[in-house]
């Protein structure tokens, strides 16, 4: 079973994402900010990361930059999932190494389509 790290400071979003991704046969680990997510990745790299942008302590963009510099950090497929829906943010995320980008609000179909797009399903 593949592991997905869900990084979002909203417990509601984490819960919704968990429900959707468990339905797609992922094992879920949750983190409420970038710092905690990095600690998870230092212990064990997940196959997938569903990543919010704006979070306290460390935002999603900085988390992604640091993840990609870790040994093996190029392997996890990272899907941003954020309300930052303008082209500039999307381009910045792709430049930092994001594989896909979900604009909130989202639904199961969109998550499934995006995870398929990056070869996770």
């Amino acid at each position: 079973m593949k592991t997905c790290l869900v990084v979002d400071d909203s417990s509601v979003i984490r819960k919704v994402a968990r429900r959707i991704l468990e339905g797609l046969d992922f094992q879920i680990i949750e983190a409420e900010d970038g710092e905690k997510a990095l600690r998870v990745c230092q212990l064990r790299l997940p196959e997938a990361v569903l990543l919010d942008w704006n979070m306290p302590n460390m935002d999603g963009y900085e988390f992604l930059r640091q993840l990609r510099r870790m040994p093996g950090g190029d392997r996890p497929r990272v899907v941003f999932c954020t309300t930052e829906n303008d082209v500039a943010h999307i381009a910045r995320a792709l430049h930092a190494g994001a594989n896909e980008y979900i604009m909130k609000p989202f639904d199961k179909e969109i998550v499934e389509a995006k995870f398929q797009e990056v070869g996770l399903i």
Partner: protein, 287 residues
């Protein structure tokens, strides 16, 4: 709705759009037609059917027929047909049309435009390989309403997130408020035109590829056969037909043959040889 009204509606839809109402479609009819009756200012479905039964209400008839059509579409829907397009169809056509350097593609049930725009983006992604080529994409649908949306090329955030890779969104769309519009260079690659698949398609010209996906499923078997045979007349002998994943030509027509190991991809069947007994003799005997 009275049985008489239901029968009238069933016949009207079959005649105008080929749509077959199987079984109990009361829920579908209500959900699609009650908004039409409200817009027309008539009381419920009974009032609506009563009005379109009277002569002189052609515009309302068109609205009813269009409202009953299913216009669900996605960018790069089902993926596999677009893999066929990139990996099988285009390489073959680029080789066989190297002299003419022209390819004509027909999206026969284009709905709100996602399919032809997906093809246009796939072509654009090929870059210099298509330099000097003229590639026409004709996109047709019988519904004027969906064609209007297709021509505008403006889609919601939800619509652009299903099937469209984010890199393509950034590359080929412009943000317009909360919506996303297909870039002018991609829109310019597609010509939209109203056309009903129940009519003769000869006037549309000849095509190298026809995408006719997820529309035959709404027709009965004789209508499917008629549509497929008409399409066969406008597809090049070395051209391609792409159907939906749940559709087939098998048992419907001999005009097309499945292409092995390529799901929902068909080529025109080779012309049948003339019967030996009537038109030719063995070579030795002819000498």
């Amino acid at each position: 709705m009275t049985p008489g009204d239901y029968d009238f509606l069933r016949k009207l839809l079959k005649e105008r759009s080929g749509l077959v109402l199987n079984g109990d479609k009361q829920y579908l009819i209500e959900s699609r037609l009650l908004p039409v009756s409200r817009r027309a200012g008539v009381a419920g479905l009974d009032g609506l059917i009563g009005k379109i039964r009277q002569p002189g209400n052609e515009q309302l008839v068109v609205e009813v027929v269009e409202a009953m059509a299913t216009n669900e579409s996605l960018f790069f829907r089902d993926k596999i047909p677009f893999e066929h397009f990139r990996e099988t169809i285009l390489p073959a056509l680029l080789a066989s049309r190297a002299n003419q350097r022209r390819i004509r593609i027909w999206c026969a049930a284009a709905s709100t435009g996602q399919e032809p725009y997906s093809l246009a983006m796939a072509l654009k992604e090929m870059g210099p390989a298509l330099a000097g080529w003229r590639i026409d994409i004709l996109a047709t649908d019988f519904s004027l309403g969906v064609l209007e949306k297709a021509r505008a090329g403006i889609y919601s955030q939800f619509e652009v997130q299903r099937g469209l890779p984010i890199q393509m969104l950034v590359k080929y769309f412009t943000q317009v408020g909360d919506m996303w519009q297909v870039a002018p260079e991609i829109r310019a690659m597609v010509q939209f035109r109203p056309f009903n698949l129940l009519n003769d398609c000869a006037a549309l010209g000849h095509f190298d590829v026809v995408f006719c996906r997820n529309v035959l499923i709404y027709f009965d078997a004789p209508t499917k056969t008629e549509v497929l045979n008409r399409i066969a007349k406008v597809v090049a002998s070395d051209g391609y037909l792409v159907l939906g994943a749940a559709e087939t030509v098998i048992g419907l027509t001999d005009s097309f043959r499945p292409i092995p190991d390529k799901r929902a991809l068909y080529g025109p069947a080779p012309a049948k040889p003339l019967a030996v007994s009537n038109f030719s003799r063995p070579v030795a005997a002819a000498r």
